[in-house]
C-alpha cells in the first residue's frame, strides 16, 4: 500500500507550493473564518446581529474611521511629495543605488524600537505629543516603502525616451512631464498601496507617539479584543479588510489602465 503511494509521488513543481498553501490555510484562511464567525456571536456564543448595530450606530466608529482614513491619505501624500523627488534624483545619480540603501537601512531596526526612540527625541526636544508627532512617525516609518518602488521604476525607464524627447525640442520640464511621470505611474501606484494600506490599520505608532490620545481604527480594534468584545472587534476587522480590498481594487484599476510594463521591487 505504502509502496504504491510512494511510487505515485513525484517531485513536480507543484509540490513546492504545498508549504505555502498550508501556511495560507493556517494563517490566512483559518483566522478569516474565525473572524467571520465571531462577528455573529455575542459574549455567550449565541447568534446575534447586535455587534453590527453597536458598530454602525455609534458615531465614534465613524470618527475613528474618518481619522484613520485622513491620516492614511495625508501620510501617503506627504510620502509621495517627499519620496518622488528623492527617487527621481537618486535614479539620475550613478551612486543612487547605494544611497537608496541608506534610506532602507533604518528598516532593519524593529519599528517599535525606532518609534520609541522617536518619542524620546520628541520629549527631549519638548515637542508636545499629538497628531503632529503621529504624522511624523507615520511618514518616517513608511517613506522607504514609497521610495523603493519609485526608484526601481524610474531607474528602469529606458534613457532613449528622454533623448528622443530632447531631440524633438522639449525642455527639461516637458521631458519630465511627458516621459518620466507617465512612465513611472506603476511605481507611484505600488508606492501608494504600500503606504496607504498599512497606515490605515496601524496602531502602535499612534499609541506610542501620542500617549494614546490619537485613537485610530487599529487602536479601536485592539481595545475591543483586549476588553473581550470579540464580536465588535471582528466587525471592525472586516470593515478594515473591506477598505484594504477597495483600495487594492482601485489601485489595480489604475495600474491596468497604464500601459506600462509593471516593474517594481515587490
Amino acid at each position: 500500500m505504502k509502496k504504491i503511494a510512494l511510487k505515485k509521488f513525484r517531485l513536480t513543481k507543484k509540490v513546492f507550493s504545498f508549504p505555502y498553501i498550508l501556511f495560507l490555510l493556517l494563517f490566512v484562511i483559518v483566522p478569516l473564518v474565525l473572524i467571520l464567525i465571531n462577528a455573529f456571536l455575542d459574549g455567550d456564543n449565541h447568534l446575534t446581529f447586535a455587534n453590527f448595530k453597536t458598530f454602525f450606530s455609534s458615531p465614534a466608529s465613524t470618527i475613528v474611521l474618518g481619522n484613520s482614513l485622513l491620516v492614511g491619505v495625508i501620510t501617503t501624500l506627504i510620502c509621495l511629495i517627499i519620496g518622488y523627488p528623492v527617487a527621481y534624483i537618486l535614479s539620475k545619480m550613478s551612486s543612487g543605488r547605494l544611497i537608496v540603501l541608506l534610506y532602507v537601512l533604518p528598516m532593519f531596526i524593529n519599528f517599535l524600537i525606532r518609534t520609541l526612540a522617536t518619542k524620546a527625541i520628541f520629549i527631549a526636544m519638548n515637542v508636545e505629543l499629538g497628531m503632529g508627532t503621529v504624522l511624523f512617525g507615520m511618514v518616517y516609518n513608511y517613506l522607504p516603502f514609497m521610495i523603493m518602488p519609485l526608484h526601481t521604476t524610474i531607474s528602469g525607464i529606458d534613457k532613449s525616451y528622454y533623448e528622443a524627447a530632447q531631440d524633438l525640442g522639449a525642455d527639461k520640464a516637458t521631458v519630465f512631464l511627458k516621459t518620466t511621470l507617465p512612465l513611472s505611474v506603476s511605481g507611484i501606484i505600488s508606492g501608494i498601496t504600500m503606504v496607504f494600506i498599512p497606515t490605515i490599520s496601524s496602531f502602535a505608532i499612534s499609541q506610542l507617539l501620542s500617549n494614546g490620545k490619537v485613537f485610530l481604527f487599529g487602536d479601536s480594534i485592539q481595545l475591543s479584543f483586549e476588553q473581550n468584545l470579540y464580536g465588535v472587534g471582528s466587525i471592525m476587522s472586516l470593515v478594515m479588510l473591506a477598505f484594504v480590498l477597495i483600495s487594492n481594487l482601485i489601485m489595480n484599476k489604475f495600474n491596468a489602465n497604464s500601459d506600462n510594463v509593471r516593474r517594481s521591487l515587490w
Binding site: V33, I63, N67, V73, L77, E128, M131, G212, K213, L223
Partner: protein, 495 residues
C-alpha cells in the same frame, strides 16, 4: 470556484483538527514534573512577588517555598510561574478554560466574576478535606483567612470590607461567601502621584480630583497629566471628579459614601462620564498603564493617576541627596478624601484588593494551600511588600510585633515608624473609600463608552487643515508651472 470551495472545506477541517491541538499547547504543564516531583502552577500579576536579589543573596520567594515544602513533606516541588498584565487577559484565559493552574492572584472584581462562573474552589472545604494530611505533616495553615478560623494573619479592616461587599455573591442559585474562596494578598487605593515642584499640598487640598482635570488652569500642568489606559479606573476617576464638583446627572445629588457612587453604571451616568472624559482630553498628555512612573521620575509629566503601590515605588525612586523636601523625594502621593472646601461635596476614592484564589483546575491542593499560608506569614509578606511597593494584606499589628519583620524593614533602610505611619501605604479605611464590584453585563456598555471617549468628539479638524494645505500646495505648484509656461510662450514684439 470549485477550487475555492475545496480550499474552504479543507480550511474548516483543518481548524477543527487544530483547535484541540492549540488548547493542548496552552496547557503548559503536566501533572508530574521531572523525576516524580510535585508541581505547582502559579498565575500572578507581573512584578508582583519578591524575586530575590543577587547582590544581597536573597532568594526568590518561590525557591524558599520549595525548600519549605521539601522540609515538611519530603518531596521536591517544581513551581511553574506564569504572569498576566491585566485582569481581563487572565479572565479571558480562565473563563475559556484555557488555564490549567493551581493558584491565581487577581483583583477583587475578577475574583467575583470567577466565583459567579463557578470556577473557584471553596478553600474552607478544601481545608477540611486536607485536615488529616496536614495534621500528620504538622502544618496548621493558621495564617489564612479563608479556612473558617477567623481572619488568620490578615488585617481585620480589610476582611470586614471584603465581607461586607462580597459576603453574598450570587452564583447560579447559590449565594456564596467570597471570604471562603480568597485570601487577600495586597491592597491599596487610587490617587494622584504628583510632582511637588509643580503642585503644592495646598493645591491638592483645594482642588482634589480637579487636579487631574487641571481645573485650576495651572499653565505648567496643562498637557502634563497622565491618566490610566484602563476603563474601570478611569471611569472611577470620572465619577469621583463629578461627585466632588457637583456634576453628577440629575437624581444623584446626595451620595453619602464612595460605595454608593462607585458601582453606578446606568446610561445617564455613563453619558455624563463620557462628556467629562472627553473634556479631560484637552488637558492631559495621554493614557498609560506602564510608563507613567518613569515619565513622572523623568519629569516629563507632573501628575499621574496612579495605584498606591506604583506611586510609593516611584516616590522612593525619586529620592535625591540634596533635596528641598523633608523626605528627600520630589514626588508625592495624594489619595483625595474628605470634602472639597468650595463645593462642600465629598471626595471619594477607590480601595482595591488582590487575593489568592484556587481555581477548579487545581491539581496540587496541598501545595496551593501551603503556598497561600506561606505568603500570609509576616516575614514573607513584608518581603513581597517592600519589593513591589504595594501594601500587604497581613495585619499591621502582626507585622509590627514580629522581630524578623522589623529587622528586615531596617535592613532595607526604612524607618520603622515612618514605614507604618505612611498614609499612602496605610490609608484609613472608611466610607470615603469604595470597592468596585464586577459590572457584569454592563461592562460592555462601559467599554463602548470608553471607546467613544477615547475617539474624541469629532474628526480631528487639524487633519483637514493639513490635507487642505498639502492639496493647496500641489495646486499652487501646478498653477505656477503653467503660469511660467504661458509667460515663456507669450508672443513677443520684435524690435
Amino acid at each position: 470556484m470549485k477550487k475555492f470551495s475545496a480550499l474552504l472545506i479543507s480550511a474548516i477541517a483543518l481548524m477543527i483538527c487544530l483547535i484541540p491541538l492549540l488548547a493542548a499547547c496552552n496547557g503548559q504543564t503536566s501533572s508530574t514534573g521531572a523525576r516524580g516531583a510535585d508541581t505547582l502552577v502559579i498565575y500572578n500579576w507581573e512584578d508582583y512577588i519578591d524575586i530575590g536579589d543577587n547582590e544581597s543573596g536573597r532568594n526568590n520567594i518561590c525557591d524558599d517555598f520549595c525548600a519549605y515544602y521539601k522540609s515538611v513533606t519530603g518531596r521536591n516541588l517544581n513551581i511553574t510561574y506564569t504572569t498576566f498584565d491585566t485582569n481581563e487577559t487572565m479572565l479571558t484565559k480562565v473563563l475559556k478554560h484555557d488555564a490549567n493552574v493551581d493558584l491565581i492572584c487577581p483583583s477583587e472584581y475578577a475574583i467575583e466574576k470567577l466565583l459567579t462562573a463557578g470556577l473557584l474552589e471553596d478553600q474552607a472545604a478544601m481545608y477540611a478535606e486536607l485536615k488529616p494530611q496536614l495534621d500528620s505533616l504538622g502544618v496548621t495553615l493558621d495564617g489564612m483567612s479563608s479556612i473558617g478560623a477567623g481572619d488568620g494573619n490578615i488585617e481585620p479592616d480589610v476582611m470586614s470590607v471584603i465581607k461586607s461587599q462580597f459576603g453574598a455573591v450570587k452564583s447560579g442559585d447559590a449565594t456564596l461567601d467570597m471570604t471562603r474562596y480568597m485570601v487577600p494578598y495586597m491592597w491599596g487605593t487610587l490617587g494622584i502621584l504628583y510632582n511637588k515642584k509643580i503642585i503644592s499640598e495646598e493645591e491638592l487640598e483645594k482642588y482634589g480630583w480637579g487636579v487631574l482635570w487641571n481645573i485650576e488652569g495651572n499653565e505648567q500642568l496643562e498637557n502634563k497629566i497622565l491618566m490610566k489606559d484602563s476603563v474601570r479606573d478611569t471611569y472611577a476617576a470620572a465619577l469621583f471628579y463629578m461627585n466632588e464638583y457637583d456634576l453628577l446627572p440629575e437624581g444623584y445629588d446626595d451620595i453619602a459614601s464612595a460605595q454608593d457612587l462607585i458601582n453606578i453604571t446606568d446610561d445617564a451616568m455613563l453619558k455624563a462620564a463620557e462628556a467629562i472624559l472627553t473634556e479631560q482630553r484637552e488637558h492631559i498628555s495621554g493614557y498609560e498603564v506602564d510608563f507613567g512612573k518613569d515619565d513622572m521620575l523623568n519629569e516629563i509629566v507632573y501628575a499621574d493617576f496612579a495605584w498606591s503601590g506604583d506611586a510609593l515605588w516611584a516616590i522612593e525612586e525619586s529620592y535625591q541627596e540634596d533635596s528641598d523636601y523633608d523626605d528627600g523625594c520630589f514626588l508625592g502621593y495624594y489619595c483625595p478624601t474628605g470634602t472639597n472646601p468650595e463645593t462642600g461635596k465629598g471626595r471619594f476614592s477607590n480601595i482595591w484588593y488582590d487575593g489568592w484564589v484556587i481555581p477548579t483546575t487545581v491539581r496540587n491542593k496541598l501545595a496551593a494551600m501551603m503556598f497561600i499560608d506561606y505568603m500570609c506569614r509576616p516575614e514573607n509578606a513584608i518581603r513581597n511588600s517592600i519589593e513591589i511597593g504595594y501594601t500587604c494584606a497581613v495585619a499591621k499589628d502582626a507585622l509590627a510585633s514580629n522581630d524578623d519583620v522589623l529587622a528586615y524593614i531596617e535592613d532595607q533602610e526604612y524607618d520603622i515608624d515612618e514605614y507604618f505611619d505612611d498614609i499612602g501605604r496605610y490609608p484609613t479605611i472608611n466610607s470615603s473609600l469604595g470597592v468596585m464590584r464586577d459590572f457584569g453585563a454592563r461592562n460592555d456598555a462601559l467599554v463602548n463608552m470608553w471607546q467613544r471617549a477615547k475617539s474624541g468628539s469629532g474628526v480631528d479638524t487639524s487633519l483637514f487643515i493639513i490635507l487642505a494645505v498639502i492639496i493647496g500646495a500641489i495646486a499652487l505648484a501646478i498653477a505656477l508651472y503653467f503660469a511660467i509656461q504661458a509667460l515663456r510662450l507669450r508672443p513677443r514684439k520684435i524690435g
